[in-house]
Subunit: 293 residues, 2 copies
């Protein structure tokens, strides 16, 4: 199948690679960065702009950083919308605003096309291993059509609800991940300051109710001080911003999400916005004049 793919960055490049390995022709355009050489050698086709990508593809995937970039790629000059015909399917795999996603979906569907919001979790490692969690919003029909493609990129694929709900689920995911990192950070700073060995504390906690993937993976990063991303603090700030903006417009109160965003802001203020999000613990350490060790 001819599949358009706009946004071959850290995530998009390996995802498109899996689709090519699955026998699909991938068509892209020069977006922010040039197309990866290995993909060109494998037969990636590069066209002029997003409009041409849409013209030449049956399904068009978008994987860009944030809401304004999705809007531009879809509806800007020479954008995807200009190249769409009746019956094509647009899949936005970026992590963006659930509220604006509904507007984008309505506009695309108004042109006789399908639309899925399908943000992912799992990061660069998950993209490379084709083990991404994919949270999908849209119709059953569009989901069934896209499923064989999703299965080339991910392992835990759920149709959660209608358009926008995929993005809502991703925001919920990022709230849980950030606040669990914060929880593990508070516990390890407390335990260290009280004279306990944090690696033994982590081990003891792993067997009980405190067990989580975050305690396992990010807890270890905090103890071993391995803060290379992984998933950068500045990206998690973007996601919590979506949560807090969404909360304001929906009328929801998220007290610990707000505090946790301020802790990420403290990391930024100290020049650490490119650390892995487990580096959140350094903000707690600053507050307590103490280190996990």
């Amino acid at each position: 199948m001819n599949i358009g793919f706009v946004g071959l960055g850290i995530m998009g490049a390996p995802m498109a690679g899996h689709l090519m390995a699955g026998g699909h022709q991938i068509i892209t355009c020069i977006h922010k960065t040039s197309a990866p050489k290995t993909l060109i050698e494998s037969g990636l086709k590069v066209v002029e702009n997003a409009k041409e990508v849409a013209k030449n593809s049956e399904i068009i995937i978008v994987m860009v950083p944030d809401t304004p970039q999705v809007q531009e790629v879809l509806f800007g000059q020479d954008g995807i919308a200009e190249g769409l015909d009746n019956g094509k399917l647009v899949i936005d795999m970026s992590s963006i605003s659930p509220i604006e996603t509904k507007e984008f979906a309505n506009a695309i569907k108004g042109m006789g096309c399908g639309y899925l919001d399908a943000p992912v979790s799992g990061g660069e490692l998950g993209a490379k291993a084709a083990s991404l969690t994919i949270m999908v919003g849209g119709s059953e029909e569009d989901f069934s059509r896209a499923l064989p493609i999703f299965e080339l990129m991910g392992s835990n694929i759920t149709l959660v609800g209608e358009n926008g709900v995929g993005q809502t689920t991703k925001v919920a995911n990022q709230i849980v991940v950030a606040l669990t990192i914060e929880a593990v950070g508070e516990a390890l700073v407390f335990a260290s300051k009280a004279g306990a060995d944090p690696s033994k504390v982590r081990q003891a906690l792993m067997g009980g109710l405190a067990q989580s993937r975050i305690l396992e993976v990010h807890g270890e990063r905090m103890i071993k001080r391995t803060f290379e991303p992984g998933f950068r603090i500045e990206l998690h700030q973007k996601d919590l911003n979506l949560a807090l903006q969404g909360a304001k417009s929906l009328g929801v109160s998220l007290p610990n999400t707000a505090t946790t965003q301020e802790l990420f802001n403290s990391c930024s203020a100290n020049g650490d916005s490119e650390l892995d999000h487990s580096g959140l613990v350094t903000a707690l350490e600053r507050m307590s004049n103490s280190k996990v060790n």
Copy 2:
């Protein structure tokens, strides 16, 4: 072996039952509640007071609600300390202050006896199933002596460090558990208000980085509105109080623990202190004028 056991409440009774099933003679005294009939029928011996318990036992286990009760049982009139001889071992399995635990341990060790702090996690279900997580502070020697007894009551048993560190680990555990419940609560309230089905959101999140025992167990309770304890909010308030008091005296800042305690306080203010701790979500729901459904 003759084992003393002071505090045969919701947790203590099934724990003592497992020790009796393991062939030990259990000796207790009337503390707050009368001794369970089934244990008396199985051969439980009831003596006058804690001093007599200590006189008649080689190892003495304490399982009472909080720091003042441990202090009274150990050092009050006719308390355990009055009945100790050289070479006996005291094991406090209550969840109490790490700081005062060090003082209690020093006093008992000054009498030529051993002391372990060995708080548990896993609640009534874990006590009944003999699957408790046991977090132990003390010497290797005392730990080795107690291990066969711990193995009759728990399945995940860790010597974390010296006296006090068992209690510190339990506090760290309760911080992670409370803050993860709060995180799942914020995510589910947000997702529900945004129009998503919270049970599908929970399912989608279970496969990725947001995975935790709390999302699995307490997330389901929030969705199904099953708030019978489980572990009561008023007990978790006690544990977070230990965290916040400890933080103050150690010089540690725990921002989200503080907020989460205020949310538990809001549950209390609304007459819900006897709900399971997953009922924390009701405080978030009140703040957002919205329900997980």
